[in-house]
């Protein structure tokens, strides 16, 4: 019930916001903030009461029959894998609302309503335990995102929005096909159909591990794995499905970029863990067993993401595009860690998901702060801002350092664990991937130098220091960054058992 409340309160908020008069913008913003703070409060409660000693699903609601004809159920719940991302989503919600406080100029009401809808979609996605429900929420995020980019974005917003939409749709069509294939095979044992078909994820996981079940057939798993994988790969995004990301980021308003990098990318990797790994261990095995091309393919994709993303970031001169490409690089570590299929690898990957959510959120907020003042994002157009805006420079340095994986800040732990895990299986690729660490440091430091160091660009002598509201959005994230860097167990406690459980599933085949 708690989870259902958490998921649908933003939806209620959307209705309330829609009923408010268009003119009272301040009221609209406050109401939206309120309706994003409630899930956050619930998330804090969830964090406190979550039982860390078990791998099982908790706080579940359902299964309640929803569409009986296809045995689709309303079934939600969280385990260690999803709870962290749920918390992240609930945290970023209010932060984004605050970040949108001043810089959305038109149609704030519609914007906020769409944002709340988006939040419902994201929260629901992470909590869904029914494959169909999962898909519905997955698609539910797409629609508001399309409008949020397409209406409130930059000059090329329509191109970016359509690109984003089509890309994701392309992926989700394959996903849908795979999903239907799973559904149709879900009641076939030894070639004979018996019982009801089902979309229920926990049931499907059990079935996929049952000897003789159609879902446990390794060829079937490979194909279905591919279908889901492409669907999620677009979201992550994994090379070569990544080109929507820089465009979407550059055009999207700040808060939406934050959501995009912070949550939407995680939906892809979360899907990989939740569906691809847990449900199709044999399919996974085919792509990560380290034998031949296909056995290395997932790790190879991770490697390409890391190196390719980092090098592309190095060449960017648009601040936001740079951060966008850095996201691609960082998600590569997640893929690499997942491909390792071992304790440090998966833990590192999940940790990296969470940490990247926090850090990239900070980065985009910071870019937004600068953009609001200077109205451009050309890195070479700044210079010497360190003297003008010391606090802003300080926070940016912190975020950059976290992002480039400085130990003591959260980015390091996930990255290091992913690499440690991956080295066990993919020695050569992992060693090559470490290039990404150096290049990552290079582009962040170079940016730092070009924007903040050196002599002050006289054009920006009047630039105002970061204000209280902006600091308010950044401080929780900064604290989290430091906290998780110093005390990573705080996060790992949440999902340690689930990871162990997942690994047992993977090793059972």
């Amino acid at each position: 019930m708690l989870l259902s409340l958490m998921i649908f309160i933003p939806l209620l908020g959307m209705i309330v916001v829609l009923l408010l008069p268009r003119e009272s913008e301040e009221l609209v913003k406050r109401v939206t903030l309120l309706f994003t703070l409630i899930p956050l409060a619930l998330a804090v409660y969830l964090f406190i009461t979550y039982d860390r000693s078990t791998a099982g699903t908790q706080f579940f609601h359902g299964p309640v029959p929803w569409i009986d004809a296809f045995n689709i159920q309303y079934h939600i719940g969280v385990d260690g894998l999803s709870v962290t991302l749920l918390l992240l989503t609930a945290l970023l919600g209010p932060i984004c609302v605050i970040a949108s406080w001043r810089n959305i100029e038109k149609g704030i009401k519609a914007y906020m309503a769409l944002f709340l809808l988006l939040e419902t979609g994201m929260l629901g996605f992470f909590a869904a335990l029914d494959l169909f429900l999962f898909y519905v929420f997955f698609e539910l995020t797409l629609l508001p995102m399309y409008f949020l980019i397409g209406i409130w974005g930059g000059p090329r917003r329509e191109y970016a929005a359509i690109k984003f939409f089509l890309y994701t749709l392309f992926g989700s069509v394959l996903m849908l096909v795979a999903m239907i294939a799973v559904y149709l095979n879900s009641n076939i044992v030894n070639g004979v159909a018996e019982g009801l078909r089902t979309f229920d994820i926990p049931t499907l996981i059990t079935l996929a591990a049952t000897q003789g079940h159609a879902l446990a057939d390794s060829d079937f798993q490979i194909w279905v794995f591919l279908g889901f994988f492409i669907g999620f790969a677009v979201k992550v995004p994994i090379f070569p499905f990544h080109t929507w990301l820089p465009d979407a980021h550059v055009e999207a308003p700040t808060a939406i970029s934050v959501i995009l990098a912070g949550i939407l990318l995680k939906m892809g990797t979360y899907g990989l863990v939740r569906v691809n790994m847990a449900m199709f261990p044999q399919g996974l095995d085919h792509f990560t067993n380290g034998i031949g091309f296909w056995g290395n393919s997932l790790a190879l994709l991770g490697f390409i993401n890391i190196v390719y993303g980092s090098f592309c970031a190095l060449a960017q001169t648009d601040f936001k595009k740079l951060v966008a490409y850095s996201s691609i690089g960082h998600m590569g570590f997640v893929i690499l860690g997942l491909a390792a299929r071992n304790d440090p690898g998966i833990t590192g990957a999940i940790l990296q998901m969470f940490n990247h959510g926090v850090i990239s959120a900070m980065l985009f907020l910071l870019v937004g702060v600068l953009y609001d003042r200077a109205h451009h994002r050309e890195i070479n157009g700044f210079g010497g801002l360190g003297t003008r805006m010391p606090i802003y420079t300080g926070i940016t340095t912190l975020a950059f350092m976290a992002s480039l994986g400085l130990p003591g800040l959260s980015g390091f732990v996930g990255e290091a664990l992913s690499l440690l895990g991956a080295y066990d299986k993919f020695k050569f690729l992992t060693i090559l991937s470490t290039i990404g660490i150096v290049v990552g440091a290079a582009y962040f430091l170079w940016t730092l130098q070009r924007v903040f160091l050196g002599t002050l660009n006289p054009k920006y002598e009047a630039l105002s220091e970061i204000n209280g509201r902006e600091i308010l959005t950044l401080v929780p994230l900064a604290i989290l960054t430091v906290l998780l860097g110093v005390w990573p167990n705080l996060a790992i406690d949440m999902f340690r058992e689930s990871v162990t459980n997942l690994i047992n599933v993977l090793h059972a085949i």
Partner: protein, 734 residues
């Protein structure tokens, strides 16, 4: 008592930094950050001295779980042995002195509080690195000191050169760190832990689990870990960042880039000593040796007082690496300690000189901005710009103006040059030379003989360029009269640290190192490949070493040397003791000779002016150019590596924009234009032909039918009713 004490030591500087950070976020400032940071450091220093009692004799580790996975746990902990304590004292001591020095030196800086906050953060990180008992902890501290170094080098970030230098420092060291990380990954994959000590630590496991078949693997791992040290300790080929790091304030150079952080690489290598194999040791020794020599040669031709010291630091660090690579664990760490003191002293002294010139520089800045560029002839054509207050060619004859600075710096110079017996530098350097020679004789290894020669050469050159610095700065006639007039002795807050450090350059205060029970080298379980185990006994010569008994110290040194060698050698016997003594004697004599030679030449060139440096430079033009251009490392990196990377990045980005995205857009276009056009054609002619016909008919019918649509409600209603009536008639009545 140990754990709370160490925690407290760590907490002091961290708290000082936290105050700054939290207030900074609230856009406020703590006006007395300098007192806070300094006090924190002094407390930490006092606590470190307390630890001196705690540690002897047995090393101990205290751990807590830091990061626990399902079946792997990374723990964080403190490991406290004599080396740790000595490092703690060195770091806190130098750091405290630098804090005090900075109160005078940095006093007029607009970002004065920030400077102390950074110093505090650095001290915390460095101490954390030192006390960590596992590789992960060391790595964390390692990167954090890198960050502080970055922040402090770039402290005057308005200067483009500083901004460049800090970035370069961070990136260069990161390249090394990646190597270190790969090494860590190798060790982790093998042993499933990153803890070094204890039952489940890497060292125990390595000793018990590894076989001869693993030697290559272990060597690679060792060299990779050493890569981290190459970066951080500015060894070849990653040394180029350290001279540039002199863009930072001078106290920073003294603390970070002379005494502590750069020595962390040596410390790490020493920590990894137990798992160094013969091969990796040799690699380390060669890297160290070559670095020592090359950096020393570059230092000869520098004119910037800080750059001379920077290259000298690199060279001395190479010395330490050489020592550890050659198995002289104790000697390497001993030299680390003595070097920390005298090099910090040299930097602070140079800072004092710069400070004396600084006011003048600011004054003369406007009218004589570029004058110095024309002052000397062609040398400037080649090179980097030197700030006039750091240019030794503007100095000279300062010994009367700044007596305290002069005397203290002279003591440090004598120490670093290896002037015998009353200076600590002599003992530590001598110990290294003896160690290398000892290893060479013991193993009859040509490599170590070569290394010994390199080390000797480097020692001579060191003496030469250090005295060159002293002569050019403090002796002779003032070369720039105007600047000379303005020069003055520094305030008390700056001279006191100089005096303290000068005192530390005497061996008496380094007695810990002469107590052979205090620091014991750890066992190297993988040093001997089987071949050497057989070779070693045959090569031993039964020398009859005569220990020089001077001040009763050298006896202890030699004996300690034995202890060091003995524990490393499974076959240690009397004959071996002999070889150590022989080596010691030879090394001592030779080192005194080369030091004297170096000083004498320097005196000839720069004081007596009996020989002209310029004419020598002209005679050996190619060599001189090589030295002047720092062996073209920077040119190579900037022109090739950096350019290549950026080019590659641009290539990738263009690839991304045109090819990958092009394909995507292309698919879009193809779908929209070509495919759609074809389908459209087909559609128009075939499908649409049919459809159009249907549509036309529909349209025609519609045109007629639309008259029914009168728009009058009553008509509709009428029709509806008729319909109802008919329906009722059909179904009900008929």
């Amino acid at each position: 008592m140990v754990v709370p004490l160490i925690s407290f030591i760590l907490l002091c500087p961290l708290a000082a930094f936290a105050v700054f950070g939290i207030l900074g976020l609230a856009n406020k400032r703590f006006p007395r950050q300098d007192y806070l940071s300094t006090a924190a450091m002094l407390i930490a220093l006092a606590c470190s001295f307390l630890l001196l009692r705690e540690v002897v004799p047995s090393p101990e580790a205290h751990t807590v779980d830091w990061l626990s996975l399902g079946n792997v746990t990374f723990s964080m902990g403190f490991y406290l042995d004599s080396v740790t304590v000595i490092m703690l004292i060195v770091v806190t001591l130098v750091s405290s002195l630098v804090h005090i020095f900075s109160m005078g030196y940095m006093h007029d800086d607009p970002r004065y509080p920030r400077f102390f906050a950074y110093l505090s953060l650095f001290s915390f990180s460095m101490l954390f690195l030192v006390v960590s008992d596992n590789l992960l902890g060391i790595y964390i501290g390692w990167e954090l000191v890198g960050l502080c170094s970055y922040l402090l080098i770039g402290f005057w970030f308005e200067k483009d050169s500083a901004a460049n230098a800090c970035k370069k420092a961070f990136l260069t060291t990161r390249v090394g760190d990646v190597g270190m990380f790969i090494g860590m990954m190798m060790l982790f994959t093998k042993f499933q832990t990153l803890s070094l000590y204890g039952e489940d630590g890497i060292f125990t496991l390595a000793a018990s689990q590894l076989t001869t078949g693993d030697m290559v693997w272990l060597s690679i791992a060792g060299v990779l870990i050493f890569c981290g040290a190459i970066g951080k300790s500015a060894q070849m080929p990653l040394h180029t960042w350290l001279p540039d790091a002199m863009e930072g304030p001078t106290p920073v150079s003294a603390l970070i880039h002379a005494a502590t952080m750069v020595a962390a690489g040596v410390y790490l290598t020493a920590r990894m000593f137990p798992i160094l194999t013969e091969t990796s040791s040799l690699v380390i020794a060669y890297v160290g040796g070559i670095t020592a020599l090359v950096a020393a040669t570059i230092a000869i031709v520098r004119f910037d007082i800080k750059r001379v010291l920077a290259y000298s630091t690199i060279s001395q660090l190479g010395y330490m690496m050489l020592a550890i690579g050659a198995g002289s664990y104790v000697a390497g760490l001993f030299h680390l300690t003595t070097h920390a003191f005298f090099k910090a002293l040299l930097f602070l002294g140079s800072g004092s000189v710069i400070h004396a010139f600084h006011a003048m520089h600011a004054h003369a800045h406007d009218d004589e901005k570029h004058d110095h560029e024309h002052a000397d002839d062609e040398e400037y054509i080649l090179g980097s710009e030197i700030p006039p207050d750091q240019d030794m060619r503007n100095m000279g004859g300062l010994r009367h103006k700044m007596p305290i600075t002069f005397i203290t710096m002279l003591i440090a110079t004598l120490s670093i040059s290896g002037v015998p017996f009353i200076f600590s530098g002599f003992w530590s350097k001598d110990k290294i030379l003896a160690g290398v020679l000892g290893r060479a004789m013991e193993w009859n290894s040509i490599h170590h003989y070569i290394l010994f020669v390199i080390a000797l050469l480097a020692a001579g050159i060191t003496a030469f360029y250090m005295f060159r610095l002293i002569f050019m700065t403090f002796f002779g006639e003032p070369r720039n009269q105007e600047m000379h007039e303005m020069a003055h002795e520094s305030p008390l807050s700056m001279t006191v640290p100089l005096i303290v450090l000068a005192l530390l350059s005497f061996p008496a205060v380094n007695t810990l190192w002469f107590n052979k029970d205090y620091v014991k080298p750890p066992q190297q379980s993988h040093l001997h490949a089987p071949t050497h185990a057989q070779l070693a006994p045959d090569t031993k010569t039964g020398g009859t070493g005569v220990a020089l008994s001077l001040f009763g110290v050298s006896e202890a040194v030699a004996a300690e040397e034995d202890a060091g060698q003995g524990t490393q050698d499974v076959h240690g016997d009397d004959g071996h003791h002999g070889s150590a003594h022989t080596a010691h004697t030879i090394a001592m004599v030779l080192s005194i000779i080369v030091a004297g030679l170096g000083i004498f030449l320097s005196w000839l060139f720069y004081h007596r002016r009996a020989l002209s440096a310029e004419s020598v430079a002209t005679t050996f033009r190619p060599v001189y150019n090589l030295f002047w251009h720092k062996y073209y490392f920077d040119e190579f990196y900037d022109g090739v590596l950096v350019a290549l990377t950026v080019w590659k990045a641009r290539l990738f980005a263009r690839f991304d924009g045109s090819v990958v995205d092009g394909i995507v857009n292309g698919v879009g276009l193809v779908t929209r234009d070509i495919l759609a056009a074809f389908v459209g054609f087909f559609d128009n002619r075939v499908v649409d032909g049919l459809v159009n016909r249907v549509a036309k008919i529909t349209w025609a019918i519609g045109g007629r039918i639309r008259r029914i649509q009168t728009g009058a409600i009553q008509t509709y209603l009428f029709v509806v009713l008729v319909g109802i009536v008919l329906l009722i008639l059909i179904f009900r009545v008929l």
